[in-house]
Each structure stands twice: as C-alpha cells, then as structure tokens.
Amino acid sequence: MLLNKEKWPEFVEKLIGKNLWAPKLEGEAMRFALVAEGEEVSLEYGNTRVPPKGTAFPQTETMYRFQLGNTDMQEPKLEEERILLGVRPCDARAMAIIEKLFRWDYDDPYFLKRREMLTLVGLACNDPGLNCFCPSVGGAPDSAEGLDLLMYDLGDSFLMESVTTKGEALLAETKELLTDSDADAVKTKEKLFADAGAKIKRTVDHIGIPEGLPGLWEDPLWRRVSASCIGCATCTYLCPTCHCFDIQDEVEGFEARRCRMWDSCMFEEYTLHTSGHNTRPTRRERTRNRINHKYSYYVDKFDVIACVGCGRCINLCPVNIDIVEILRQVKEELQ
C-alpha cells in the first residue's frame, strides 16, 4: 500500500489515540517517547540514542510490591498496548533476537507480555549511519524481521508492507488514507534500498568467529583492546540486544518492591560474589565476555549473532573502542 506524504499527518493523527510512541528530540538526541495530541512526528533521524528495547524490557520494572512482615504480593498492571512508529530495522531485529532468550528455558512473562502488546511500525533506512554495519551480521537497511509493518520512504510517499496480522490490521484501519501500490513503486523501493545498502562502508567478516572465539580465551588481544576501556555501561545499555538484568529489593519504610533493572557486564560488581571473589576481575575479562557473548555464546545457543550492527556502541564509546576493529583483530588472530 502507498501512503502519500500529504496524508502523513492524518495517518499519525489516527494512531495518536492508541498510545503512539515515536522518536522525539530530547536535548540533542532522539529518543522514543509518547506522542501527545496534536504533535507532529518527524522521522528525520538516523538512529535513536537509546534503543526501543526498553518498551518491552524497561530499564526498571516493578515485578511486585509487598509489605514487610506480610506475604501478600501485589503485581502491578502491565501497560496497555502501544504502537512504536519509526523503528529502525536493526532495532526490530534486535527485539526478535532477545525474544529468543526470554523464551529459552522458560517463558519470561514480563518481557513476553509487553512484547505482545507492542506493534512495531518500522522505517527502512534510506541513509544508514556512519558506523552502521547491519548487512555484515544478517540484517539489511530494509529488513522486516521483528516488525509488524514496514514503511519505505520513496520520496513523496511511503510504501507500506505489512509483515504480520497486527500490521495488516493497522493497514485495514487506515485504509481510506492509502492507495494501492504499483510495480513502479516496488521498483523504486528496490533501487533505493539497494543504494542504501551500498552506502554502508563498515563490514565485519564473522565467518569462523563464533567457532574461533573460545580458542582465543587467553590471547593477548583482549588486554590490548580493553586497555582503554573505562568500564562504563554506555555500550551495553545502549545496545539493542543487550539484555542482562539484576533483581533488587527496594525498601521504603514498611513498603517494598522487588524490581528488575538493566545490568551491564562491563560493571565491576556484575560478577562480584558475596565472598569478595570476582570471576571477571579486570576489564580484560569483561570486554572478552561482551564480545564472546555477542559473537559466540549466543550463536551457540540460539544460532544468531547477538549484534545487529546499529553502530551505537561505536558512536558513543567515550574512548573509541570499536567493535568492528576488535572483530577485525579477532579475525586476524584466527588466521
């Protein structure tokens, strides 16, 4: 289906009542936020600063509340359905990738319920960012994986392709704004996104890396690449596929809540035992774990690389630690 850009405000208006979230400028960076009545949505952005994973896996979520000395628990009501507009294909793919973990040994009710209530409306990338490398890790600027509906910007109109029944339903609801697509539009789309793919300069050659990484366990490479790491969580908190969490109890007077919040393997206390022993005592082990987790353990368990090539960790690392560069060095060591 085609949506003329003149009809775009109307299209957005239709969705606004349905808990619509879209990228919004906050400070200098884009972030997903609730769109209020009468607000304009602009899709002119590269990638949001914080990935939309938080809509299904919030940074802090209350699992239940309780009172001290009382075994009753109150579970909070989960949020209602929401629509995310303008999700980049890499972020949507990441949602599909972490879903595998949350469905692994048992079904995680929190993530899955939230995920079920999300409708992801994607926006294919015409102009991928500087440090994007999605094609190298199985994605594409127009990948539809994980999305319900994908929009392609064709200049003066959007080509809409539904991926799931949720997407179809959304198209059905906005039927009167849409026109049928023609062969020309499809052709334009194919050309545009082949071009977009060609704009991506950074590449990762991951052939052999998942199998080879365990063999490099004690390689001097890890000390070299981690020497400048300052041990902050920028790379992991802003990673769309990082999914580690910690569970803590917070007590206020006699009331308490158990909540789960994002955690990062780059923090020192992540693997700190009560005894004082730390199984990953230095940044060398922590960096090694980050790369291994993404490019080896995850592949081993779920048969997919837990990196979607969005480039956030490269763009935002305070000390220019570059995952593409690390993987290049890994590859070099393997040969």
């Binding site: 209350t62 206020e252 007077g253 809540r257």
Partner: protein, 143 residues
C-alpha cells in the same frame, strides 16, 4: 498547598552541644514547634551530605543540622569541616533546584535552650513557606 500542612523536619544534632541545648529547652519548658524529628549524631562533622539528600528523598520537607559553636567542638574541629561541606551542599542543592529554605544549619550550645527554640521556629517557618517537598521525593515517582 493544603491549609493544615505541617512540614516534616529532620534535624541532625551533635551530641555535645545542640542535643543538650534541645534537652535544656525541653527541661526549661520552652515551647517550640513539634515538627522536628531529632537524630542525634556524635558531631556535626559526622553528617554526611548524603544524609541530607536521603532525608529529602524519603519524605522530609526540610533538614536542619546543628552543632557546637566554632571553636567549641568536642572533637576540636569537627564543626569547621561541617561548615565547609554543608555550605557547599547548600549551594549545590540551590543550584539544582532545591529551595534554600529547606536546608538550614545552626550553632546551638548546651546552654542555649532559647536559641534552639528560635532556630526551630525559623526552620519550620521556612519549610512551611516553601511548601511540601515535591522535588525528588522517592515515593512520588513511579514507585
């Protein structure tokens, strides 16, 4: 702000002067507002700025720190450190948007029951004017 709003003040008093001063006010039957919750510490220099922040976070509308007069500290110089640190804290809190009327510091000696009354009155009055603390209170935010 509701008509019958009563501010909740947390006061950190040093064991040797201010606590004794408050005690004297009590034994001398000096009347002062009952909005004060006293926490006795050994020295005003022992008051970690985190205590002040945490009190505000957990529901205080105002915080008072009181110690011996400069030069009278039981530990010689504890209150001098407190003066420097908490003075900085006051500036910092004011800069990030905490009303300066919510945080006070005073010197009250063991013989100053009446001064204690004045200090409490001033603190409570200021907190009353500033209204209920709604800044970064923990329970108001998605708890």
């Amino acid at each position: 702000m509701s008509e019958n709003y009563e501010p909740n003040i947390v006061a950190f008093l040093c064991n040797w002067c201010s606590y004794a001063g408050a005690d004297l006010a009590g034994t001398s039957r000096v009347q002062y507002p009952a909005n004060i919750q006293v926490i006795r510490v050994m020295c005003s220099g022992r008051v970690n700025p985190l205590y002040v922040m945490n009190a505000l976070q957990q529901g205080a509308d105002g915080v008072l720190v009181s110690g011996c007069h400069p030069g009278d500290c039981h530990y010689m110089e504890g209150n001098f450190y407190a003066r420097r640190r908490l003075g900085m804290l006051k500036d910092l809190m004011e800069f990030v948007g905490v009303d300066p009327r919510r945080f006070h510091m005073s010197w009250v000696s063991a013989s100053e029951g009446n001064k204690w009354k004045e200090v409490v009155e001033k603190t409570v009055e200021d907190a009353r004017e500033a209204g209920p603390f709604e800044g970064f209170r923990r329970r108001q935010i998605d708890w």
